[in-house]
């Protein structure tokens, strides 16, 4: 069937394709402009001038951060390691579950009666913010890092399953077909035909989510899920801006470091 549609597309004269594409593009553009215009007032975008007229307030607030105080750096490092560990477990569990969920929500892998329920479940996971999940889990498992792990795990599963399934939908179906003709089972077709094709992308997505989860794990500290975030919000609430500045710097350095490490990892695997 694919061959046939492909052949049909080839035969079609080029000008017609461009014409239809141009028509569609202008509709997309109009819709986008309309959406932005309608959203201007509700989003209070007209206050953008305040960024300049009241910049002094910001400068005053920011000046508190100008002299970072690293005297407690050992404590901060310990806590940021906890944050990384929360992100690591949350991401790991999410990756493990996203493999089956991602495959089951791909159009070219699963029939609609499996695909749609799985996709709706993933929508649900994704639609609710980590912080909301964290509050829920704090109630269930108590204050501390584990609530953070669970929150990241659920939310990241929703995101990664979607990204994974999009990668699966973009594969070349022909090797999979070839494997099918050898008498391989469905699972074997996926393992030998699909996964080798999507693995580089899946690894990239997973490493990217690990980075983002380190950031998110910091925010989760806000509602008592442990790690550096908790320390940071305590210092901010206590107006210890120079300590908060030191913590911010450490967080930025950590995320940068993770970026470098994940780049190396990606090169190693791909």
């Amino acid at each position: 069937m694919g061959d046939l549609t492909l052949a049909a597309a080839k035969v079609e004269p080029k000008s017609a394709m461009q014409g239809r594409g141009g028509y569609r593009n202008s509709i997309v553009l109009i819709v986008l402009v309309a959406a932005l215009t309608l959203s201007w007032a509700p989003a209070e975008m007209s206050r953008w001038t305040y960024l300049f007229t009241d910049a002094g307030n910001m400068a005053q607030y920011a000046s508190g951060f100008l002299r970072p105080d690293f005297s407690d750096w050992r404590y901060y490092l310990e806590e940021i390691v906890v944050t990384i560990q929360i992100a690591l477990w949350g991401t790991f569990l999410a990756v493990v579950l996203s493999v089956p969920f991602g495959i089951l929500s791909a159009t070219n892998m699963a029939p609609w009666w499996i695909r749609h329920p799985v996709r709706r479940l993933m929508d649900f996971f994704r639609a609710i913010h980590e912080v909301v999940f964290a509050v829920l889990f704090v109630v269930a498992v108590g204050l501390g890092p584990f609530a953070g792990v669970m929150a990241l795990f659920i939310h990241t599963t929703g995101i990664l399953a979607k990204l994974f399934s999009e990668a699966v939908e973009a594969i070349d179906p022909r090797p999979v077909e070839a494997i099918r003709t050898t008498g391989a089972s469905r699972v074997q077709q996926v393992i030998f035909g699909v996964i080798p094709q999507v693995l580089p992308l899946w690894i990239s997505f997973s490493l990217y989510r690990l980075e983002s989860n380190i950031r998110s794990a910091t925010v989760l500290g806000l509602i008592g899920a442990g790690g550096i975030g908790q320390v940071m919000f305590e210092t901010i609430r206590g107006f210890y801006y120079s300590q908060a500045a030191a913590i911010l710097i450490i967080v930025v350095l950590t995320v940068t470091l993770m970026d470098l490490v994940s780049q190396k990892l990606r090169k190693l695997v791909i």
């Binding site: 069937m1 052949a7 077909e177 494997i179 003709t181 050898t182 008498g183």
Partner: protein
């Protein structure tokens, strides 16, 4: 003994009729060419025999060694596919896996399910794969990623995969049209060798009649989804082809291929084909 029997097979995609009431039989041990211009239904027919697609409902049936595989648009036995091996125009290897692994995939239908799923092939199976690679003349590339191979090597690796599969029937969907002439000849030689020595029935679709005449005694010609000729390849003279295909026959005919340099005439025929396309 009859290896493949197709009877009254039709297939349409929307309003396009890809196969019109096709019937054919292949005897065991035959090597048959399937020719026709692009869009004549060769690939569709092959995909049906391979069990990758089911025909329209109605009288269409396909039997492999007397066993019904599909009837009236429904598959009848699933999973026991490995008797028919398929070679594709674009090789369809998994690019990121090693050549050896790609060849071992051919064994999945025979390896116990759990071991195959985990990719734990034993020593005997690996030895078999190495032997198959030797047979097709590329033992040195076993450990390489298959995407690093040239087209001809990839096609030979794909043939090795079918050897490991130990299929009794091999169908090849334009196996040489993506290859340069010398690689094409090597691939056709390997196919002819398998046919002669292993008694494997081969159906090979070809774009060029020259290869059909050189390698296959019998040729089946298709046009617009129907079989228009089934008989000895030697009868396929340019005049006869012109009668079958009209102006489109130019696409199928090459000047007789000399043993030496063949790039020039092929390039020429490509040019001719390109000028024909817009019409």
């Amino acid at each position: 003994m009859i290896a493949v029997a197709v009877s009254n097979l039709s297939k349409s995609y929307g309003n396009t009729c890809a196969l019109k009431d096709v019937s054919l039989t292949l005897a065991r041990g035959e090597m048959v060419a399937l020719i026709g211009a692009s869009g004549s239904g060769k690939s569709t027919l092959i995909r049906h025999i391979a069990g990758l697609e089911a025909g329209d409902g109605g009288a269409g049936r396909i039997e492999i060694f007397g066993e019904l595989t599909q009837s009236a648009g429904r598959f009848l036995r699933r999973g026991k596919r490995s008797r028919v091996a398929v070679i594709f125009q674009q090789f369809n290897l998994v690019g990121r896996l090693s050549v050896l692994m790609n060849v071992l995939i051919g064994h999945l239908g025979r390896t116990p399910r759990w071991r195959g799923t985990l990719g734990l092939f034993n020593r005997a199976e690996k030895a078999k794969a190495h032997k198959a690679l030797e047979r097709v003349g590329i033992p040195q590339v076993a450990a390489q990623r298959s995407s690093t191979l040239s087209g001809g090597q990839q096609q030979r690796a794909a043939i090795a995969r079918t050897l490991v599969q130990e299929a009794e029937i091999l169908i090849a969907d334009e196996p040489i049209s993506a290859l340069d002439p010398s690689a094409a000849r090597r691939v056709m030689d390997v196919l002819a060798d398998i046919n002669a020595k292993d008694d494997i029935t081969i159906l090979v679709s070809l774009h060029q009649v020259e290869y059909a005449r050189r390698y296959c005694r019998r040729t089946i010609a298709m046009r617009d989804g129907a079989i228009v000729y089934d008989g000895p390849s030697s009868a396929l003279s340019p005049d006869f082809l012109a009668e079958l295909y009209g102006a489109a026959s130019e696409e199928l005919v090459l000047p007789d291929i000399p043993a030496g340099d063949q790039t020039a005439p092929l390039a020429e025929s490509r040019k001719r084909r390109a000028t024909l396309l817009p019409a």
